[in-house]
Symmetry: C2
Subunit: 362 residues, 2 copies
Amino acid sequence: MPQLKNDSTLDRIQAIRGKFPGFQVDGILFSGISNIRYLSGFTGSDGALVLGPEGARLLVDGRYTAQAIREVRQIPVVQYANKMQGIEQAVRDLHLKRIGFEASFVCVDMHQALTRRLRKSKLVPLGDELRMLRACKDDHEILVMKKAAAIASKAMAALAKEIRPGWTEQETALYLEMTARRSGGEQVSFETIVASGKNAALPHAKPTNRKIKTGDFVVVDFGIKYRGYCSDETCTFAIGELTADQKNAYRAVLRAHDEAIACIREGTAAADVDALVRGVLGDQYSRFFVHGTGHGVGLEVHEAPRLAPDSKDVLKAGMVVTVEPGLYYPGCWGIRIEDTVVVKKNSCEKITKMNKKPIVIK
Amino acid sequence: MPQLKNDSTLDRIQAIRGKFPGFQVDGILFSGISNIRYLSGFTGSDGALVLGPEGARLLVDGRYTAQAIREVRQIPVVQYANKMQGIEQAVRDLHLKRIGFEASFVCVDMHQALTRRLRKSKLVPLGDELRMLRACKDDHEILVMKKAAAIASKAMAALAKEIRPGWTEQETALYLEMTARRSGGEQVSFETIVASGKNAALPHAKPTNRKIKTGDFVVVDFGIKYRGYCSDETCTFAIGELTADQKNAYRAVLRAHDEAIACIREGTAAADVDALVRGVLGDQYSRFFVHGTGHGVGLEVHEAPRLAPDSKDVLKAGMVVTVEPGLYYPGCWGIRIEDTVVVKKNSCEKITKMNKKPIVIK
């Protein structure tokens, strides 16, 4: 892994400034922490970023001042005692009149407080305008995301060698997380899912102390962060021989997964990928597929675009998305197969590394 | 640990219904996931809860339907394809005219969407009215929080025996997390902080691959969840002998910590606890104490009340709060000492278990 440099925050800020006229604003207040990280490099968990046409301010509280100064060299860091007061001051210093804000991060009470404080300025909600801000990853981000995916897949491969009937779901989750952390993973992208037997019919099950046993499907959905970027991959392990029904269902999900990946490229409509999956699953299976086909991944494990029936998104080169068809038979068992791919001009590239053929544990 | 039963969600719902007239609403839409869990018992990560004067609906998407039906028996579970549509339908089914909502969870875009859909109803922002909803814990919650704290303190005690110069911050964090998980901890309450040497001057540092060495203070801030409830405790380890400056500083922080805990009881103003800490630290130290004295803990690691200079909160019996004075010398070292306590009528009870005398590692 080469030493990675990240000088791209200035480019990102310039790109968003170029959109100010279209948004009819002369500045934007960012309060979503992933957008702040994306635009400034600050890795703390709280703060605000105010961008003007030329100047900018990164606002943090006392817990983060020293860290922000160390991490962010291109934007003045200002410490606040009260966040709203800090924002008011920054807006005044930068002489902003029409300030865009993230309509999906600013809650109603913060909006009320800002409206009271910024009487001389106009607050402009930006929703769809910012939704795709981080969707297309640059080469640096893709390199980091490949590393995150590689760490997680390596842990999953190690698990495939070790897991045995008698392990609890919790032990299995712990094994994965420890293995990935020892290889440089920072923290999990989301709470690890290890769902065995009946529990596998719950798409978002929490690991329990249930012991894995012969005849189970075990859905393992795992992701780790590296340099803040998330990975996301699901394998379904079969413990012992599958029944004919289970084999057929697994085959159907795998075919849906493979065909979806085969159709992903720049220009594909996200809803079409979802429709293709449901088409391959057909009448027999598709009503047991109870969630969308996939989602963007980046600094957040769920971000734009969405691959779902009602999505209006169109895939573009550089987007990183999951493809994760599944079947869930309440009270019986479940299957999910998930890879993360980078959209390219004429195809896509898998960055998660486990082979998705049935993994049978004897 | 006795088997815990949780029939309290119905009592909680009745209590909040009793406040509808004062709030001037005939129903409330809850979308914050911790409030939803608190009021319904649903442990998923997405959904909405609509409470009417008598009826109620728990709304979830297809990922969570089976789980919600299993977890929530007292409220009808309704699956939605589109959350806003689901809310609209529930509001109609329950005949609600004035619907309160959590002003600190509903973002501007969701508010806009709700306003469009619920033309015949009035949306009423509830901010301060709901802030203290979960602040006073019942006996069941306190039992669970004691268990969470015990698991984390046990891991911290094990660490105190094992940690040696040469361990990296990341290894140290991993050791703690794995130890706590093996004792029944679910997941960390927040990203574990292990900050050694200069890094300890960053109150919210992320663990790095820096090796701990003689002469360091190592600030270890760690919490684990148990049944969804967070623990939160900080120890500062001294690696080898302390300098006179370090000893004096540690003594000052410990005294501030002890005196703050001694003054906590029902009726104490949260701002007074903070002022007392700053007073004990005095001119010499208090300007290096760059954050608030503490915060409530529960289903969220940071929740009401706040123990800070500008807090208007008054402590009540059953509140669970942290007391965490610290000193941060940028470029040099840092100290933080933190316990979590339950507020009682005439005192408070520490639920975190590490002795806070200097822990010197030789």
